[in-house]
């Protein structure tokens, strides 16, 4: 660490006013924003700022003179975070001015030619730039999401967009329609349309992974004696064999009747739900009233 008096170029006996003047003089020369092309300016400016920080504070200066602290005692934080030149150097800000070179840029010499080429390249890049991607949301009925189909979006800016929904599309999935976004400002390709799918719930089907779940109401007779009943699937009704003595809550698997995707097909899981007649049926009631459960029939014996 160099001597702060030496850095500011003042005598050990300098008055505060002399120190202030010396610092201002150096700051005007060395401030990084006044020397945007000089990489070392920041280092030297910091040195000067540190020296000033030490010598402009009477208490710090006294302790330095007394040898209590060394010059590094002044190494506090740099006067500011980042200099303006770092941002201005990236170019194109609202402040930048061509006032310093416009005459050269308009002439026929080497500099103007090079500048023209560079700007032509930039224009060319802009001309070929693609259009923006546009985002849409599409609500799809449950069965269309499972089976696939074609939906038409009416665009806010007019016109329509046909979206082919692949079978098995999931809630939240985004479909990319290449070239259906905003047109390019120049001659580039149009952007893409990004369509987020929102699957609407179904009255009785639910989906878990690639399996479809449904609860199927059956009569007490169908549950007890078994038999064929018609069960809905996402592609239409099928005949389902209910085994004799089925219980409410039993789940029957219809293999391959779930969601069909490129991975394969899921299953449909049918959960039986025994539904008593409503209003209660007098004949059934009188039959059950006369019925004595056989010995050993206690559905709660495990409890």
């Amino acid at each position: 660490m160099k001597d702060p008096y030496e850095i500011l170029g003042v005598a050990k006996t300098a008055t505060p006013e002399e120190i202030r003047k010396a610092y201002r003089q150096l700051a005007k020369k060395l401030h990084p924003d006044l020397n945007p092309g000089d990489k070392r300016a920041e280092e030297r400016f910091k040195e000067v700022a540190s020296a000033n920080d030490l010598l402009s504070d009477p208490d710090k200066r006294r302790r330095f003179d007394a040898g209590e602290i060394d010059a590094s005692g002044a190494e506090t934080a740099p006067p500011q975070g980042r200099y303006y030149r770092e941002y201005a150097g990236q170019g194109g800000g609202p402040y930048e001015s061509a006032g310093g070179y416009a005459d050269y840029a308009e002439s026929d010499d080497l500099f103007a030619e090079l500048l023209r080429r560079s700007r032509e390249q930039q224009r060319e890049q802009m001309r070929r730039a693609p259009g923006a991607d546009l985002h849409y949301e599409l609500r799809v009925p449950f069965l269309d999401a499972v089976n696939g189909g074609v939906k038409t979006i009416t665009l806010p800016q007019g016109g329509t967009l046909d979206v082919t929904i692949p079978s098995g599309v999931e809630d939240g999935q985004v479909l990319r329609l290449r070239g259906k976004g905003a047109p390019a400002p120049g001659e580039g390709p149009a952007g893409d349309a990004l369509v987020q799918i929102v699957v609407e719930p179904h009255r009785f089907f639910t989906r878990e992974g690639d399996d479809i779940h449904v609860e199927l109401p059956v009569t007490i007779k169908e549950a007890a004696l078994g038999g064929e009943v018609r069960a809905p699937t996402t592609t239409g009704g099928v005949m389902l064999r209910i085994p004799k003595g089925a219980n409410a809550g039993d789940t029957l698997r219809l293999k391959g009747k779930g969601v069909k995707t490129r991975r394969g097909a899921g299953d449909q899981l049918v959960k039986l739900k025994v539904v008593m007649p409503k209003p209660p049926d007098a004949e059934l009631d009188s039959f059950l009233a006369g019925w004595t459960p056989p010995a050993g029939y206690d559905p709660r014996k495990e409890m």
């Binding site: 610092y23 941002y87 201005a88 170019g91 402040y95 930048e96 001015s97 006032g99 080497l110 390249q121």
Partner: protein, 94 residues
């Protein structure tokens, strides 16, 4: 982008001073939204204005000239960089 409150907090400026700086076009916040928005570059520029005014004793008239020259210098530096890049791209002069 930074809103005015954060900008004031980070620059330690008061609102009246910032209003003057904006009116003088020393700082140009983005006015696309209803509330003015400031960039990191605006923040650093405020630091420079502070240094010029308080550490170098530049008065307001001088500040105007200095900022204008600095803005020209950055325009010139960019034009120079562009010209050099274009020369490298083509591997030769015109």
């Amino acid at each position: 982008m930074i809103d005015e409150r954060e900008f004031l907090a980070r620059t330690h400026l008061d609102q009246a001073t910032l209003a003057v700086w904006v009116r003088e076009s020393w700082i140009c916040p983005d006015r696309t939204a209803p509330e003015p928005a400031y960039s990191e570059a605006d923040l650093a520029r405020a630091g420079l204005i502070h240094d010029l005014k308080h550490n170098m004793g530049v008065n307001d008239e001088g500040l105007d000239v200095i900022l204008h020259l600095i803005d020209q210098m950055h325009g010139l530096r960019r034009a120079l960089a562009e010209a050099l890049a274009s020369m490298k791209e083509h591997g030769r002069g015109p």
